[in-house]
């Protein structure tokens, strides 16, 4: 009994409960048909949200105003870079992944440079850098769809007993991110900066180094995500990352991370990502039109954030 109570006291549990409810609603509608397939599909798609969501989580945790809005453009560019470098050849997969990572890190570092050197608020800096990155992507990719090497495309689609290999990798990654957040100096520093940047500086934390690292990390994760997406969807494109603008922020907030900074939650990101994907699946099975689907998604996100934010208003 007390075990259940401590479980319910954890903020991330609610995102999993939400995911479960949405899934149950969907399979009730289909009469149980496709229950397993839905989970497999949800895991495959959720993992992409998780990867960028974790980067976004570290950025948001840095405190009020910190957010990375350049993720969609970053993902788009990295997907093109990865596919071009790989050039459809299996032997170039590793090089292509490194190139995507480097592209993402460059975008992240550039974001930080704008924020730090020009003292632009992060929300403006990352948004404007996303326009620059987008333009580079359009010029570089020329709108061509380049196919991934077959081995890479196959790899991103491997499943063990219905569990995609990417989801397993994503779970391991999330676990490590959780350790980094709670048990490593880096995570502690991020949490401290998010609560009070000045006090963090006065407590001996290298504030600017940590911020630089965090924006670069977010960029790097965007880059990796771009390469994986291009493999999974069998081709890079400029708008491949578009949906991750909203969803990277939504999974962070629904997952129990404080928008005000200083308080973060990794397990909740997985729950929130599953919730968002299953929500779309459910609305699809209900046969709702695209417009209504967007409307409902938006309303549900607002509802969840309001409900989750309620308890924090006390302080």
């Amino acid at each position: 009994m007390s075990a259940i109570r401590t479980l319910l006291a954890r903020p991330w549990i609610w995102s999993y409960i939400g995911a479960l409810i949405v899934w149950l609603a969907a399979i009730t509608f289909t009469g149980g048909y496709g229950a397993g397939g839905m989970i497999t599909a949800a895991l495959s798609l959720a993992v992409f949200m998780v990867i960028v969501g974790i980067g976004q989580m570290f950025v948001i945790t840095l405190g009020p105003g910190n957010v990375d809005l350049s993720l969609p453009a970053n993902i788009g560019l990295a997907s093109a870079v990865a596919m071009k470098v790989m050039g459809g050849s299996n032997s170039m997969i590793a090089v292509g992944l490194i190139a995507a990572l480097a592209s993402g890190m460059a975008v992240g570092a550039f974001n930080y440079l704008l924020i730090r050197a020009l003292r632009i608020p992060p929300i403006i800096a990352t948004l404007s850098s996303s326009f620059i990155v987008l333009s580079i992507d359009i010029a570089y990719g020329r709108g061509l769809q380049i196919k991934p090497p077959p081995a890479f495309a196959d790899f991103t689609n491997i499943q063990f007993f219905g569990v995609p290999i990417l989801a397993i990798g994503g779970a391991i990654f999330a676990f490590l991110a959780g350790i980094a957040l709670q048990r490593m100096i880096y995570g502690r520093s991020v949490l401290a900066i998010g609560q009070n940047m000045r006090a963090a500086w006065l407590a001996g934390i290298p504030v600017e180094r940590i911020r630089f690292f965090t924006y670069t990390l977010s960029g790097a994760l965007g880059g990796i995500n771009g390469a994986l997406l291009a493999g999974y969807f069998r081709g890079a494109s400029v708008d491949i990352g578009n949906e991750y603008l909203l969803s990277s922020i939504a999974v962070v907030v629904i997952g129990g991370t404080s928008v005000a900074g200083g308080k973060a939650n990794v397990p909740g990101i997985w729950g929130a990502a599953l919730f968002l994907v299953l929500l779309l699946t459910m609305l699809n099975t209900f046969g709702v039109s695209a417009g209504v689907r967007l409307l409902l998604t938006g309303l549900i996100i607002v509802g969840v954030i309001t409900a989750a934010g309620g308890q924090k208003a006390l302080r």
Partner: protein, 496 residues
Amino acid sequence: MSEGSPVIVKLDGVERHFGAVRALDGVDLVVGAGECVGLVGHNGAGKSTLMHILAGTGTPDRGTIAIGGTLETAYSVARAQKLGIRCVFQELSLCPNLTVTENTRISHAALKGPGWRQRSTALIRAKLDEIFPGHGIDPSDVVGDLAIGQRQMVEVARAFTVTDEPLRLVILDEPTSSLDAHTAGQLLAFIGRARQQGISTILISHVLGEILSTCDRVVVMRDGRVVASDTASSFDRDRLVGTMGGARHRDGDTATRARTRGQTPVKVRARPRNQQGSAELVAHAGEIIGLAGLAGHGQTRLLLDIYGASTHRRPGVEIDDPVALVAGDRQTDGIFPLWSIAQNIGIRSLAGLKRGWLLSAEREQALARAWQAKIGIRTPDLDNNILSLSGGNQQKVLFARALGSDARIILMDDPMRGVDIGTKLEVYDLIRAEAGKGRTFLWYTTEMDELSHCDHVYVFRNGRIVADLAHSELTEEKVIQSSFEEAGDRARERAS
């Protein structure tokens, strides 16, 4: 209380609980018109809680509030305001992004319509001039740009401004803790004048001298109860301290040690940014160096420059050891409000808390426990949130954070602000013990008493060092003289 004067406030059997903690345990309090009541007690005695109830920001769990003879059933902030009860709390409540004028408008709904800005400006300027002549604050200044002492002056002046609502009682919670001796004196003199106009005041202060010299009556609280209430003239310092249950002030033990400078290596050498001449601050290993002078005259600035030099080279500052800083402004410079006490202590020592790659919760606990025992942080559980502690205990956490770290140079930015005398004496002992072990302390303080703990004192004025006093030549008179004097310091600067 003078005979026959009408009663403004009457509290009966007020109780307030926070979980298992009884912050107030049946308090009776009476304040008459034109009376100045001093309220003293240790941190955590319940003074602030009681004042929150009086201001309407907290509600009692039991007991009654009567204002002007009428029993108040739905007492609130708005009601208190209407009845003319104002509050100047310890944690400053001005909006830092607004100007002084705009902040004045916030508490006066009557300042509306065209021209409110002029009227608000005139109102606050007149009051500032009245209480703090020569204050140097322009009502169009943004509050965030003001020094903490000036903010406190605005806060106090604002509480005494009157538009359409009456003004009957002003509660001043540690109003002088961030003021220097000069402005504190101005405020205390003003309280005396306000009394003649029939305005009552409740003065909370840890400076017992000002309570005894300013107030008509003194109320002593301990553990959520009123333990004594008597005319101020019937108390003296010793009786007050004794009633509070605090340690007695030990005179003499600081004066006994005399040390010659320069036997230990120099650890800090720093020149204020706009210093003229050759004067600089020098600290040898194991010394306690005082930074004195009026509040906001460049002491904090120099401490921050020294602190900054630990990561980025800075011209004019040389340091030879790791540095830690004990903040005086706890809320903005010190505390991580979402964290536990143990986490707040450990943050400066993260590298030492690692076991392998990861931070060890046991090591963090061990560090926190060691310092809890050493410095006496009063809490049942170090995993409790930092905000569950009273202000004085939060300050001890900041001391534990700095002293528990690997830093050999400890900078202290007026850290005893709003800390009770018992805590202070404990911390003084600790500082002396740590200095004995070779740690170097740079201590900015506005309190004369604390300077007597220092081996060497530098007096600041207008961002410069204007006097340089060894322990043996330190007197209050000299410090005050060099804080104000204009002509003499030039010669002294050249001589040094």
